[in-house]
């Protein structure tokens, strides 16, 4: 039996008219028409937009991301944020105390392999500045990470956290979701949580997913 799906559109597909609609994310205008840029779900709100069903993470200011320190440099750390662009965490944004970089080996604060939950400050071309100066920011220890398509993160979180909270409650886990598609899970039933998250990733375009996930977790 086929579940009800939302409208799927493809790149180059005509979805509206500039006379009657306004073009939003995932669309472009040409010759008075609004056209999809992606294979994605069509959203007919105030703006006509398309949510891509695949694609890499494009960093945006204020996004919360989970990253991995890949290099320790003189003035900060290079962080892999699961994106075509690297993240950079400066000493100023990473450490609260005063640090004399001439005398200090900063790897005592963050070292290669460390996993951090951080916030994006600025995304000038090619240089993504991140910060740990935020109440949510912290080093993550233990647990397991999985990656999902970044555009599906809102679906995983749900309206005001409704979806992710169901998973957390029913599996007794702590879950931190990065807008960059990296998800960190720690606790009792990690496997069950991973299964639920993978299901959401596969079926993000299906209506009635919340019920399906609740059922999956109750078994």
């Amino acid at each position: 039996m086929m579940d009800k799906v939302r409208d799927i559109v493809i790149p180059g597909e005509d979805i509206g008219d500039t006379k009657t609609d306004r073009s939003g994310y995932g669309t472009f205008e040409e010759d008075g028409k609004i056209i999809s840029k992606f294979v994605g779900i069509l959203n007919k709100g105030n703006f006509l937009s398309v949510v891509p069903l695949s694609g890499v993470y494009i960093p945006r200011a204020d996004d919360k991301v989970i990253g991995f320190v890949t290099d320790v440099e003189k003035f900060g750390w290079i962080v892999d944020i699961n994106s075509p662009w690297q993240g950079f965490l400066s000493v100023a944004e990473g450490v609260d105390e005063f640090v004399d970089i001439k005398k200090t080996n900063i790897s005592r604060f963050f070292d290669v392999g460390d996993m951090i939950y951080a916030k994006i400050v600025d995304t000038k071309r090619g240089d993504v500045q991140i910060t740990m100066r935020d109440p949510i920011a912290r080093k993550l220890k233990g647990g397991v990470t999985i990656k999902i398509t970044p555009s599906k993160v809102p679906r995983l979180i749900g309206k005001e956290g409704s979806m992710i909270n169901i998973i957390k409650e029913k599996t007794g886990t702590i879950i931190r979701v990065g807008q960059n598609g990296v998800v960190w899970i720690s606790g009792e039933n990690v496997d069950k949580a991973i299964k639920a998250i993978k299901t959401i990733e596969e079926k993000s375009h299906i209506i009635g997913l919340t019920d399906e996930i609740t059922k999956l977790l109750s078994d």
Partner: protein
């Protein structure tokens, strides 16, 4: 193209494999065949099969190739040694280098590469079975793979070969036809505005014949486009 023969390739209006002159071979398409890739597709036209994978947008190395305004598109067309009659030595040939270039130029106009400055997009095409018209099969696969990867596109890219044999204009040349044709013309285009992104020709054709072939190609391209559209949506229509 160009081998001389008295052989008949069109008998009573039908080609060697029973097709009409403007008929395409059986087309098969699949997307998401390579889990490691950001996007992928496998396309067959009769016994010609190409698998395309897209990796990216991703960090581009070496760094000096990065462009501050746009993603850099790289394309590699390769034939597997077992894809042809006489085994082909692995590695690049002048032919594969040229086809890699024209393939890149066939796909580039369809992509919003400027949305991803400093990055690279890698498109890799492997021909695993070669029975004529391999470059256009590769382009059809690459177009699907790019859409599957979530690379923003203005339109899909559709490709098919045209040509002439025994004084008849034909479409979708198979291997034998390719070898003995009077002319061979691969074409790729973006269907929405009929913008042609690949055009090559070798042989001898009158300008009128060329126009006619292009007309036939645009018509056949619509069939290919509808299949591409269907296969991209199908992935999300049925979830077991």
């Amino acid at each position: 193209m160009g081998m001389k023969t008295d052989e008949k390739f069109i008998i009573k209006g039908k080609r060697l494999d029973g097709r009409k002159p403007d008929e395409l071979r059986k087309i098969e398409m699949k997307v998401g065949v390579i889990p490691n890739a950001n996007g992928s597709a496998q396309v067959s036209f009769g016994n010609t099969t190409a698998i395309a994978a897209v990796y990216g947008p991703r960090e581009l190395f070496p760094k000096h190739l990065q462009n501050p305004d746009t993603a850099v598109l790289r394309c590699r067309y390769n034939m597997a040694p077992f894809s042809v009659d006489e085994r082909a030595s692995p590695g690049t040939s002048r032919r594969s280098v040229e086809i890699s270039k024209v393939t890149r130029l066939a796909l580039e106009p369809a992509l919003f590469l400027r949305d991803y400055p400093e990055t690279g997009v890698g498109v890799y095409i492997e021909v695993i079975e070669a029975d004529g018209s391999t470059r256009v099969t590769g382009i059809n696969a690459a177009s699907l793979a790019l859409a599957d990867a979530g690379v923003p596109m203005k339109d899909l890219v559709v490709a098919v070969s045209g040509g002439k044999i025994n004084d008849t204009l034909i479409l979708d040349l198979c291997g034998r036809e390719d070898n003995y044709s009077d002319a061979d013309m691969p074409v790729a285009f973006m269907p929405r505005k009929k913008q042609i992104t690949l055009l090559q020709m070798d042989g001898e054709l009158t300008p009128k014949e060329i126009k006619e072939i292009i007309k036939n190609v645009l018509k056949a391209g619509q069939v290919i486009y509808e299949k591409q559209k269907k296969i991209l949506k199908e992935k999300y229509e049925e979830v077991s």
